[in-house]
């Protein structure tokens, strides 16, 4: 039977919802148990949140001053040590956090890693996208070795909180940590808007906005309906918005209930980031734009006229 270890993602003392999405993926393996490992300088608050997720058997904590920031070279040896305590699977979300640390864990364990699990066929057989989601492959991990994987969060709902609270225990990982990697700084956009990866509604803008000033109409529309803001690669490359807003193959993969693409033509690399969205709305002046091929509702016209109209109508 499978015993699954999930590595919690957290920032600023708050658990990221990507962790609960990993719990859903772990449940699909039908395991004997699911444990969550929290590595932090002080894991108390995050562990408390993790313990409430339904289906979690226990929460393990590794409190060390070195764990104040999620540095892969620091975390990986500790994760590998805990994984060695009889776990058959180690999962983390396929966010920049999980993508950074998990291959390092896999290499320390001497095993391959499965990236971006979108569905589970059995304990060692999974589906994942390749070629920007233009093909889906079924991959089989060797039955004899630990399965190390990242979970494509857009494919899985966040597991809900349960009625019981899982026990929280301090884990043991007596490993020496390197000093060759040092955290300097994290520059975060300050915003009261919902987080792009977890938002139920997202308004995205593309190159057609033309400038960062013009992007204001996207923010205004988003604020009107309580949506997060996203962008195409072209808009980020042009400097209209910061890079953490990029949606697509190499940016964020999201699955909101409503996705509104404004002035985005719809390159395949962008479409792969939104294919799991509930309803896609496209607003573009080019009636031939590929975005209309996947949109549930399309509106052809000048976005500078349509967007303010839409904001007023909502």
């Amino acid at each position: 039977m499978s015993k699954i270890l999930i590595i919690a993602e957290h920032l600023g003392g708050k658990l990221n919802s990507s962790t609960a999405r990993c719990v859903s993926a772990a449940n699909a393996v039908k395991p004997e148990s699911i444990d969550i490992l929290v590595l932090a300088a002080d894991a108390t608050a995050v562990a408390g949140e993790a313990a409430m997720i339904d289906g979690v058997a226990k929460v393990l904590t590794l409190d060390r001053a070195e764990n104040a920031h999620a540095l892969a070279a620091i975390l990986a040896p500790q994760i590998a040590a805990v994984a060695g305590n009889g776990y058959s699977h180690v999962f983390a979300p396929s966010t920049t956090f999980g993508k950074d640390v998990m291959p390092r864990v896999a290499a320390l364990l001497g095993v391959a890693q499965i990236s971006d699990i979108m569905s589970v066929e059995s304990s060692h057989t999974f589906q994942r996208p390749i070629y920007a989601g233009n093909a889906i492959i079924t991959v089989q991990a060797p039955a004899s070795s630990t399965v190390v994987a990242t979970i494509r969060t857009a494919s899985w709902p966040a597991a809900a909180n349960g009625s019981a609270t899982a026990p929280i225990e301090a884990a043991n990982a007596e490993v020496s940590l390197p000093s060759h990697t040092r955290f300097i700084d994290l520059a975060q956009g300050k915003s009261d808007r919902p987080d792009l990866q977890g938002a139920s509604k997202v308004i995205s803008g593309g190159r057609a906005l033309g400038s960062s000033e013009n992007f204001d109409i996207i923010y205004k529309l988003a604020d009107k309906i309580g949506a997060a803001v996203g962008a195409s690669r072209a808009a980020v490359d042009a400097g209209y918005v910061p890079s953490d807003l990029q949606v697509g193959q190499t940016g964020k993969i999201i699955a909101p209930e409503l996705y509104v693409a404004i002035g985005i033509s719809g390159a395949i690399q962008h479409l792969t980031g939104i294919k799991d969205a509930g309803t896609i709305v496209a607003i573009n002046k080019d009636a031939e734009a590929p975005i209309f091929e996947v949109a549930d509702f399309g509106l052809v016209g000048d976005l500078f006229k349509i967007v303010p109209e839409l904001e007023a109508a909502l």
Partner: protein, 248 residues
């Protein structure tokens, strides 16, 4: 200081991939092949570090079939000093690629290994991190800015929360994100010059790399298709449609 650059050949990013009807793979016959875009960025960054006098030599490495030689010559034409072609006709998974790179590191003793953050064919995003672990050296992934001061690299990383800056002691593995730089175009005279640059060929089997314990791909399938929706004529009709679905 020497920089080793991973330079993978992949199906060009503009090609719309088709899955073979029998599910045995994707159609690659006759499709355009190019350098992995992230690897072009890695090579460009290495060349800039050489032009600034920080690096003395840039070596491009390709692990791939014998017919990838024109591809690796492009890396030389772009400006690398020399190339190493590890020849294998097998598809190489990230752990094996990392093990093979480690063998080359042991021989070449680079100060920096620059790789793309992911290859746009398998989208794995693993090799750099695995290599750093096997080499027991630091990693700075998803770099959008790299500054080298003596034996330390200060790297700005594109992470979900924003931009993170870390410092790593060299030697280290750095992987590139899209906004690190804009790769230069290859000029025709440089293609001629590249023909005389050194290109070392190593058979993969001669590296003595363990390629076991791997993932087996049992099936390829096309993705679920979203069906084309309806076109609305104006904002009023759009709002009505969204209200009907309870979305606004």
């Amino acid at each position: 200081m020497k920089i080793l650059v991973g330079y993978k050949r992949v199906v060009d990013y503009n090609v719309r991939i088709q899955v073979k009807p029998d599910g045995s793979g994707v159609v690659t016959d006759g499709v355009k092949l190019s350098a992995n875009p992230f690897d072009d960025i890695a090579l460009e960054e290495a060349l800039r570090l050489r032009e600034k006098g920080i690096a003395s030599e840039v070596v491009v490495v390709t692990i791939g079939p014998a017919n990838a030689q024109p591809h690796i010559r492009n890396g030389l034409a772009m400006g690398a000093n020399r190339a190493i072609h590890v020849v294998t006709e097998e598809a190489i998974q990230p752990l094996t690629a990392a093990r093979a790179m480690l063998k080359l590191i042991e021989k070449e003793d680079p100060g920096i290994v620059l790789l793309g953050k992911q290859a746009i064919d398998d989208d794995c995003n693993q090799t750099g991190q695995m290599l750093a672990a096997l080499w027991d050296r630091p990693q700075a992934t998803f770099a959008s800015k790299i500054e080298i001061n003596d034996k330390v690299a200060r790297v700005t990383r594109e992470v979900d929360a924003g931009l993170e800056t870390i410092e790593v002691d060299l030697p280290a593995v750095l992987t590139t994100d899209l906004r690190l730089n804009e790769p230069r175009f290859i000029k025709l005279p440089d293609i001629m010059k590249a023909k005389s640059k050194p290109l070392e060929t190593i058979q993969f089997a001669d590296l003595g790399v363990d390629s076991g314990d791997h993932l087996k791909t049992t099936k390829f399938a096309p993705p679920a298709k979203r069906s084309k929706g309806v076109m609305v004529k104006d904002v009023a009709e759009l709002v009505e449609a969204l209200r009907a679905k309870g979305l606004v």
